[in-house]
Symmetry: C2
Subunit: 428 residues, 2 copies
């Protein structure tokens, strides 16, 4: 793949090369109304200003979608439109742009529409009707199962037959940078106790996940066939599914996680289009189980080679430690499989719905996607730079997820940051 | 309580007496845009038309809320406003109305705004951001626990300490009358099997529940104190949480019910305001457990005496059988307790959110709120009129929930019908 060069200076290390063109929702000090934009290098292109100039007139699309406070209406135009808009913008920014008059040689529009990224505020990019979190990271499911049930029964019998998932809380999805309040709740103080105490969570954790936003729904009672599922996926974000392990342990039988998960879930602000990740398709984890036909995909490269990284900047100092590195390919089921399963009984999916992958852990030490795994259930200590130690998160800690594909030669395709700082639980 | 008599003929048996005044969203053949209305006897009052006439001018409220396609904006005005609007409408309809010129003697406005209820279409009354289903019907939890684990371990250790709940699927909430498609999915054909087959659900069930709509939210990271929770509750509906028991049994470990619950959940169309149910407060099920302070209510009459009934009209014929009768008081936790718990870790709640009670079963035979309980897990047969038998639902069956408080002397306060007919699973 040849490098796409731009007339706009784009740092080599930027996640937002010309090969990416991710979509988000921004506002600025001078204009507080949220509107769509794309990220490119250290800049963003304000699509409301850009489209108002007539710059999309050659594409025959309804530019009203670029004046909306979410990406839902743009997403709903469908993947062929996303593709044509992305390719057009790549051409607009190309070094030898055939559309040089549109922006390259149009300093007036540059002044209005081309903003420094560090001077815009990002917002949750979609109106999320429903959020579902899956559990398709088999290594994570195995690691957690071992902690609770031992290696022989680590995975439940259903695990390899279907993408296990559960409904999450759409209202608690926040954008990177939003502080996360440590939850209060009922926890057991001692193992084996059956009487809970009221306390701030003492085992506050992260979960390293990918999220997929939908651009197409289905009618209630009809399923989305696996062969069509990919066309329903708008794009991807990083997702930190913050988890209160002690609250979870007490509350989750028999109906699953609830308050342990709904105090905040952080996503990265820029939706990387499915098309932008196409070059990085790869095989996921092997599954020896014969899947039922509705889950069988033709393409065995059904997940993405995305280098995932989690850093922590502890409360005690500013020095950041990289605590884990994983890869987006550590999934037993693909997002199209998750979607085909989600809808197989007729559940109505909608534009803007968010699907989480489940925690993406590798197999080796240092690749586990949660503190629960890294600290072996809180039994071991995670060493940070500067002699600092953690088993779980402390107030003031900042956790940042990164994800990126490709290389600097052909241009990185990444997600930027997905970050959140823990603030203390309120006194009640 | 003295009977409220109206100049409008209201059948004694109507759930929508002058003591009720429930709110809903309607459309008509001549005007397809959904708008708010109240139900009264066999009529509805179109609040868009009514408010457009200036009829609310004495109340000092923003009547724009009555031109919206959902009740969210009206609900967000808060309980004191709901109270004043309800009381004003009771006065408008009172036999000796002090506002006779508003409607009683205004045949022109009657023609425009007072419609026959059987000539309007009802819609889901709120935009539901998130839906949570609780499990507060202790008798149901015990009955189901007995089927799976025996009576000694029927209830989990957490059960009496907190209202167990899980996130549901907001997009699958439909209004009474909407057909329900039998879901396809993975089920185990034989007990003990560990390899699923693909099949239409063979154990399709109902769950008799009450639902509460919220009229007030909270900021993420802050909880709603139990003392304030009641002010966050707009009103109540009946809820049939249709359940695919065989899909549920296979999928639900370890993260809870998912596809077994998200193919459709039916609510009654008219939101009975919290104020209308005040006279029917009663004590719920006894709880010997010392609750943590955040769940302690001052008022021990914290649930409602609502007579609940479920009828089935089977596919084979038109004869309807009443299969069970329960009462809204069969709950271990109140809705304010559910809400205080839901938000205790800082989960952001919003106007329009729906909370389900969990299945409301009594203790005696014939009071169980699901086929699973009535048929003892499918081991026994439920006898219907006309020699028809059921263990679970068949295609073509129509199930109707009813709920009503009070008596005909002082005026019934009820929910009308919450009904759905099963249509066959699609061939896949």
């Amino acid at each position: 793949m040849a490098s796409l060069k731009s007339w706009l200076p784009i740092p080599k290390s930027s996640h937002f090369s010309l090969a990416n063109i991710p979509f988000g929702i921004i506002s600025t000090a001078s204009k507080s109304s949220p509107r769509p934009a794309v990220a490119i290098g250290d800049h963003v292109l304000d699509l409301q200003e850009f489209s108002a100039s007539g710059a999309f007139s050659s594409l025959n699309i309804d530019v009203a979608v670029f004046s909306k406070p979410t990406l839902n209406d743009f997403a709903a135009l469908g993947r062929p439109v996303h593709r044509s808009v992305r390719e057009y913008l790549q051409e607009v920014f190309a070094e030898n742009s055939t559309h040089a008059d549109i922006l390259k040689n149009n300093s007036s529009l540059q002044d209005k529409a081309l903003l420094k990224r560090d001077q815009v505020t990002s917002h949750v990019p979609m109106h999320i009707g429903d959020y579902t979190d899956f559990y398709a990271g088999k290594n994570h499911a195995f690691n957690v199962g071992c902690l609770f049930r031992g290696p022989d029964n680590a995975l439940q019998p259903n695990y390899t037959h279907l993408p296990v998932g559960y409904h999450g809380r759409a209202s608690s999805i926040v954008v990177s940078g939003t502080p996360i309040t440590r939850p209060n709740g009922q926890i057991l103080e001692a193992p084996g106790s059956k009487v809970p105490i009221f306390s701030p969570c003492k085992r506050l954790d992260i979960e390293l996940e990918l999220g997929a936003f939908l651009c197409k729904g289905n009618t209630m009672g009809k399923n989305i066939p696996i062969s069509e599922a990919a066309e329903h996926i708008f794009g991807y974000v990083l997702l930190n599914d913050w988890s209160a392990r002690d609250i979870q342990a007490w509350e989750y039988v028999p109906l699953g996680p609830f308050l342990a998960k709904n105090f905040g879930s952080t996503i990265s602000p820029w939706v990387v289009l499915a098309d932008a990740l196409e070059p990085f398709r790869t095989k996921g984890l092997d599954n020896d189980t014969q899947l039922l036909p509705y889950l069988q995909e033709k393409e065995d490269k059904n997940v993405y080679d995305i280098r995932l990284q989690v850093d922590i900047t502890p409360a005690e100092g500013q020095e950041t430690t990289n605590i884990l590195n994983s890869n987006g390919s550590n999934l037993l089921f693909s997002f199209p499989q998750m979607l085909a399963h989600h809808s197989i009984g007729g559940c109505p999916m909608a534009v803007g719905d968010l699907l989480g992958s489940g925690t993406i852990s590798g197999k080796d030490a240092g690749t586990e996607g949660s503190f629960l795994e890294l600290s072996k259930g809180g039994k071991e200590t995670i060493k940070l730079n500067g002699g600092i130690e953690r088993k779980f998160l402390q107030d003031g800690d900042t956790v940042t997820l990164y994800g990126v594909s490709g290389n600097e030669e052909t241009g990185l395709v990444g997600f930027g940051e997905c970050s959140g700082k823990i603030i203390p639980a309120p006194k009640i």
